[in-house]
Amino acid sequence: MEDVVKEIVMGCMESPEVDLEPDTDLWSAGITSMQIVRVMMAVEDEFEIELPEEALTREAFTTIRSIARAVSKEQLAAAASASENFA
């Protein structure tokens, strides 16, 4: 998943000057709040999820790893909710 997130972030940042590792601080790497919006939308589209407001923190979008973590968490929550609905 981190590879997919990295591809999204790279695309939204329009050729960042530094190589993005999973733990690279995106804010320090120069990402703007507008680019973060694009990343969030692309991530939601790619993984077919809707991140809740409490997940939309600066921290969650600090690194590729933290974004992937937020996505995983939401996917798990969505799966749990789906299984509850079928229980």
């Binding site: 969030m40 809707e50 407001e53 600066r58 921290e59």
Partner: protein
């Protein structure tokens, strides 16, 4: 001018908001002359220092009052009632001093106690020609020179620059850094030169803030570069506190205009018991909305005010949208209050003089929509609203 009064005189053992209410009477007395002459409110700022209010936002360990956000906003409202220019100068200084106290390195923090004790005003040099009003973009860059850094910046406006003893300046981290890779540099007045640039200061309102343009040059030790990215300083302190305190000052100005209109309606009601004035109700409603927004934003920003490292967990698009809304709505709703007050007061309100004049209030409040242009904030919110979960 490094100091504006006698340090430490009469520091308050009282409620800071009550104190602000008392000092605001003096501000109101000085306001007409400050406005008319477009002169800096030296006496009013000295009174704030004597009362201990000049560094209300600074932690007690440095000699400040360490006020809560609620108290700071209330102080801003009280000062705004007396004099918009003095209140706005106070608000801008609070923001700079809070940035230094919360994000400064050891070298900068060591200076804070004397800045507070001396009543030194700290001005910001964040505006820059050619960046389109974007706080988060710089053209000027610091140039390393041994243990020093050098900087030259063309600033179209620097509030109370000639009356400040220190400056907080934004710039690119290095000559080859991108426009968004910014630092903040603390500069003593002795380390800076300011050459007037652009038109002389003769604006419509907020005339006492004395905010003309300058070519700002400085040479300072590299240790005076704040150790965190400017983006973090802006998000954790500068932007939220500016929006809250500016909105507070505007609310105070509008509240004073409302009080004048109210006195007119009271008199009319004494003469005619059946008299009602729906415009007063509309003005009251606009003031209530502004105060409610402030209360909501204080609550959402409080964890980050308590601890700047909470920015990661509590900052994000929802907070940005809310704070931008506070600024956008306060800057227009308060003008509405003053406009309604003008209609109620009639020609007495339109006059520049007299107890029912709301002319200065209106002129001062029209600056609000320009201080970080509302269009810019609306554009940001338009994007961030794509993520909003209502």
């Amino acid at each position: 001018m490094a100091g504006v009064g006698n340090a430490g005189e009469g520091h308050p053992a009282h409620d800071p908001v009550q104190l602000a209410r008392k000092v605001s009477v003096l501000l109101a007395g000085n306001a007409p002359e400050v406005d008319c002459a477009a002169s800096f409110p030296t006496e009013s700022v000295a009174a704030l220092h004597r009362a201990g209010l000049l560094n209300a936002a600074c932690e007690k360990e440095y000699g400040g009052l360490g006020c809560t956000l609620e108290d700071l906003v209330q102080i801003g409202i009280e000062l705004g009632r007396g004099c918009g220019s003095t209140a706005m100068t106070w608000a801008m200084h609070q923001v700079q001093i809070a940035c230094l106290a919360r994000h400064g390195g050891t070298g900068v923090r060591e200076r804070l106690a004397s800045i507070v004790a001396d009543g030194t005003l700290v001005a910001s040099v964040t505006s820059e020609r050619g960046i389109g009003g974007s706080l988060r973009t710089s053209t000027a860059a610091i140039m390393p020179d041994g243990d020093l850094v050098r900087l030259e910046k063309h600033a179209p406006t620097v509030s109370y620059a000639r009356h400040a003893g220190a400056f907080l300046v934004t710039a690119r981290r290095a000559p080859d850094a991108s426009p968004g890779d910014q630092i903040a540099l603390y500069v003593d007045a002795e380390q800076a030169s300011l050459v007037p640039a652009g038109s002389a200061w003769n604006p419509m309102g907020m005339r006492g803030t004395c905010s003309p343009g300058f070519t700002f040059a400085a040479t300072a030790p590299a240790t005076q570069v704040l150790p965190v990215n400017f983006g973090e300083i802006a998000d954790a302190t500068m932007v939220p506190l500016s929006h809250l305190l500016w909105a507070a000052c505007w609310t105070g100005i509008a509240a004073d205009a409302f009080r004048r209109a109210q006195s007119v309606v009271r008199q009319r009601t004494r003469n005619d018991e059946s008299h009602t004035e729906p415009r007063l109700a509309s003005a009251s409603s606009a003031l209530t909305q502004t105060r409610a927004l402030l209360t909501e934003a204080i609550g959402r920003y409080r964890p980050i005010w308590a601890d700047p490292t909470a920015l990661g967990a509590h900052g994000g698009p929802a907070l940005t949208v809310l704070l931008n809304n506070v600024k956008i709505l306060a800057s227009t709703l308060t003008v509405e209050v003053a406009q309604l007050s003008l209609e109620i007061c009639g020609m007495a309100g339109y006059s520049e003089d007299g107890p029912l004049s709301v002319a200065r209030h209106l002129r001062d409040l029209y600056s609000a929509r320009l201080m970080i242009g509302n269009e810019r904030l609306l554009s940001t919110n338009a994007r961030l609203s794509l993520l909003q979960r209502n």
